[in-house]
């Protein structure tokens, strides 16, 4: 359960880092292992929702 919460916290943290905040012209195209971060962002959201359903409770930072 602790591991799940840590995983959830990490995913949520990365989701905020990659998908939130002010967008300024000149952002680089980022890829991780040939997977575009646009897609990674989507996966983070999906993983979050899945983890949320499994844990059925609030996680927090």
């Amino acid at each position: 359960m602790v591991e799940k919460e840590e995983e959830l916290t990490l995913l949520e943290t990365l989701d905020h880092l990659l998908d939130r905040g002010v967008v300024i012209a000149g952002e680089a195209t980022i890829s991780i292992g040939d997977v575009d971060l646009l897609y990674l962002g989507l996966n983070v959201v999906l993983a979050n929702m899945d983890a949320m359903k499994r844990s059925s409770g609030p996680g927090r930072k």
């Binding site: 939130r20 300024i24 971060l37 359903k53 609030p58 930072k61």
Partner: protein, 213 residues
């Protein structure tokens, strides 16, 4: 070397010594310098930046810059931020004692994404996309619980939706963070079968773009 921009801050002491700072007009950007050949998508780099972001927020509230902006020097940063610093200064001054919290909940019924091939025009497709996103909602009892327990503690809030989830972005005074967490515990007890995630505190992310709403 290139400098990854993390956030925009009111004072230099809000940035240093947690991160390096770059002056932008009369504000300060927190930056993290890396070798030119280090990819921005490096996992360790992402985690490092995320950790610095959290430590910066411990010091003072700042405007988050979405990950991916890297500059060579202050001149390049000034050029890219031209015209924005006046508004940023106002936002930072107005919300210095506040942070963001986020509540995410699964939608009661995920709306299928419209298929572009089903629409004769791009406008009709965009309208259908917008309607699909706004048709999503969360369990009404849970929503009432959120409105009763969480919203009175916030100074501002905004509901955000996509096709599978509903998110509540909240602006909260730092002194009220414990009350928000207690409200989250209360929601968990009262809605034990409702999957949701309460997270934060976060820097100014949603409410840094208020002028665009």
């Amino acid at each position: 070397m290139k400098s990854i921009v993390i956030g925009i801050h009111l004072k230099q002491t809000d940035v240093e010594p947690v991160a390096d700072s770059m002056k932008v007009d009369d504000l300060f950007a927190s930056v993290f310098s890396v070798d030119d050949d280090r990819p921005l998508g490096d996992r360790e780099l992402l985690l490092e930046i995320a950790a610095i972001r959290a430590r910066l927020l411990d010091t003072a509230t700042f405007i988050a810059i979405r990950y991916g902006l890297a500059v060579r020097d202050e001149n390049e940063l000034a050029m890219k931020c031209a015209g924005q610093t006046k508004r940023w200064r106002e936002i930072l001054g107005a919300h210095r004692d506040e942070v963001e919290m986020t509540l995410k909940a699964a939608a009661t019924a995920a709306t299928p994404r419209p298929d572009r091939r089903d629409f004769k025009s791009g406008a009709a497709y965009l309208r259908a996309l917008h309607e699909a996103a706004n048709a999503v909602d969360i369990d009404s009892d849970f929503r009432r619980g959120v409105e009763r327990t969480l919203l009175p503690i916030t100074t501002r809030h905004r509901w955000l939706r996509d096709s599978a989830s509903v998110e509540l972005a909240m602006l909260v005074r730092r002194g009220d963070l414990e009350s928000v967490r207690a409200a989250g515990e209360s929601l968990r007890r009262d809605h034990a079968t409702m999957p949701f995630l309460l997270s934060g505190p976060w820097p100014l992310e949603v409410f840094a773009d208020d002028h665009q709403q």
